[in-house]
């Protein structure tokens, strides 16, 4: 561990209450000392839920649990509570791990007077160990007592692990004439190349959206938010994004994801997902530069995203940017190794607005000093056009620094 704080650290926003949502945080003492590590959320009856999870084959027991309760109700479901612990992740723990997730859900259900299948569970932290069930369950009455409409930052902070700041986004949207609130928070800093989701992210709204509609919106949003972000190319076994709609707002019934009256809500929901994803990259372990990679001219969005991720995950690109070295040849290398269709003779590369290479050669008008000066900034935009089509994608990442090594060479100590 180090004392490094992301230079992109921002204050957690003031979040208004979301009718139907109450939160609390507490300290179980199971791994971290002197800090909260458990979060409980109570949701109003009738809350609709959508979820997307990691594609890592070694899924954690909490992910298996959440998937099973969502699946039991078709695409999306209902929910009354959410319990999350940080420090130990309950992954690679076999039948004992699944029993623990279920028992935890049952204990929360008992407290909130609902069925265990209405309680969502997440865990993050060390793989291969079991969280201490007794410590969580012992804490539950205290947490219930502390439930409050305003404890957003406390709840969000409790689920951090190597995060250096607490990450949240709030928006309001109009559905017809009714104003609804959307609050989202997320934890994540390392082991980040989400595949259908990111570490642990939760979005809450009082909008009244049926679960299948919510799920459809979430699936589309994930493709252009969490799946366009990477820290170190490692995909967590616990990645989870859940969206909860309490239905407390009094607007007309929404029946379809593409309903015109949902336009503003759709925009704001996507905005939250995209901004949460960017916040995770901005807290990438050891970050000194926030990097936006845009790829254009690919044969499709999917192909552009593969190329952009090939650049964003290249250790040589990431270290060059950390060292403020305008070594753009490494970007050409990363485009080429992607395995996607590209036209070398039509490929161009930009740092910010500086056209460094075009038509497969260095731009004769480009001067090394321009790139060097540009890379002194904290936010670096790389744009590549690969000259074969109209597909484009944007991916967010961070550089690779000594701090990343310092944080990860001794994470468990």
């Amino acid at each position: 561990m180090t004392d490094h704080i992301s230079p992109f650290a921002s204050d957690f926003p003031d979040m208004p209450p979301v009718p139907g949502v109450r939160l609390a945080a507490g300290a179980s003492g199971m791994r971290y000392k002197k800090r909260n590590d458990v979060m409980l959320v109570e949701l109003a009856e009738g809350t609709q839920v959508a979820g997307v999870f990691t594609k890592n084959a070694m899924t954690g027991a909490p992910v298996d649990w959440c998937k099973s309760i969502l699946k039991a109700k078709g695409s999306g479901g209902s929910g009354r509570g959410l319990i999350v612990n940080a420090g130990i992740s309950n992954v690679f723990t076999g039948a004992a791990g699944l029993a623990l997730a279920k028992d935890t859900a049952s204990a929360v259900a008992h407290l909130l007077h609902c069925a265990p299948e209405e309680i969502y569970v997440s865990s993050t932290g060390i793989i291969g160990e079991l969280p201490d069930k007794e410590k969580i369950i012992t804490l539950l009455p205290t947490l219930r007592h502390k439930l409050s409409e305003t404890a957003w930052s406390q709840a969000a902070r409790a689920i951090n692990t190597t995060d250096t700041f607490t990450k949240g986004i709030t928006r309001t949207a109009m559905i017809g004439n009714t104003k609804v609130t959307l609050n989202g928070f997320i934890k994540g800093s390392g082991m980040i190349e989400p595949n259908m989701a990111t570490m642990l992210g939760y979005v809450f709204t009082d909008a009244k959206i049926p679960a299948p509609v919510l799920q459809e919106l979430l699936k589309a949003d994930v493709e252009v938010s969490y799946n366009c972000m990477t820290v170190d190319s490692d995909t967590s076994t616990s990645d989870t994004i859940l969206v909860f709609a309490t239905g407390q707002a009094q607007h007309w019934e929404v029946t379809a994801a593409d309903a015109p009256e949902l336009a503003d809500f759709r925009d704001k929901l996507r905005e939250i997902h995209v901004e949460l994803a960017k916040l995770v990259a901005m807290d990438g372990e050891g970050i000194s530069k926030f990097i936006t990679v845009k790829v254009r001219g690919a044969k499709s969005f999917a192909s552009a995203r593969v190329i952009a991720k090939s650049i964003a995950n290249s250790p040589l690109v990431k270290t060059a940017i950390a060292g403020e070295d305008a070594n753009w040849g490494r970007i050409a290398m990363a485009i080429g190794k992607s395995g996607e269709k590209v036209n070398p003779g039509k490929t161009s590369i930009r740092f910010g607005t500086h056209l460094i290479a075009k038509d497969g050669c260095k731009n004769p008008d480009y001067k090394e000093e321009q790139g060097a000066a540009y890379l002194k900034g904290k936010r670096i935009d790389i744009t590549a056009d690969v000259g074969v089509g109209t597909g484009e994608a944007t991916v967010w990442t961070c550089d690779l620094t000594h701090e990343y090594i310092a944080i990860n060479a001794d994470y468990r100590s």
Copy 2:
């Protein structure tokens, strides 16, 4: 740049002459100061050549040149010379780059009295710049004058870039009653995840092997040597492996790759490729530990290799090993993110002989101290059985250290 030397650095072996091969090294002064950076090899008339090259789409002009002259003669061809420069790689240089490679070949051909299409060219170093053709051509007469049967280490050393030691392997083999020699050397340290080849490697033998047979042997060897090795998952645009057989040895004619009399030669040739590949991983930028990843129980060799590379390329696995932290959960994560078929409930993980996890759970008999003690060693063996089939593969890599960042954050300065 740093003063870091690989702890696995070894002396370049004493190499006997290979009849039909003469070498020389010289200093062009184009980028490096006070060291040789150009190597010339003269090959006897009738030398047979096989080659395998990078799959990176942004191939360097020298790779394009070598592929074109090999292709012009079918699978494999003949050769009279090889010219290699280090420091500037002639990649992403468009038509000017290709013209430069061809002009260099022509100048060497003029010197050695042969056709330009019999001269192989490689360049390694910075991408996006043109090597200084005049400086290379001016050096050629001196190089020809210095050609010698014994200048193996000088030639091999001249093509190094960030390499911290000079890497070569020598063997002898019997073909019938005739003893033949095989000498190989290789450069490579970063931007290393070969795809059909590694950085720049050359093997020379006096055996009399037709080019198509040589090509068939090389293709098979590459799959279990260079393609099973990775430093940082970045694939160079210049990867090249060439095998030259001068045919000076007086043994019976060889007509097929699987000929029984070729058994010993096949073994020794593969041994050279495997050992050269391991030497590159042992000189991986910033290395402190040499890591061998074995994956068993996969559905095929190809699948096992994908899983092994997912472990070998994981920044979190590599940093944990650098930090001597037995964080085996990251190995489980890397297996899971590979996208290959695995059975989590049957998966086992070993550090050396220590069985850490089995049947998808931590082995209750495993003690943390065992893993911690094991990781204090310099050579780390990771074995994973993924429980679905009989496919297995071995991949070699190195850890990810502060030195890697130090070397690469400022490579061009």
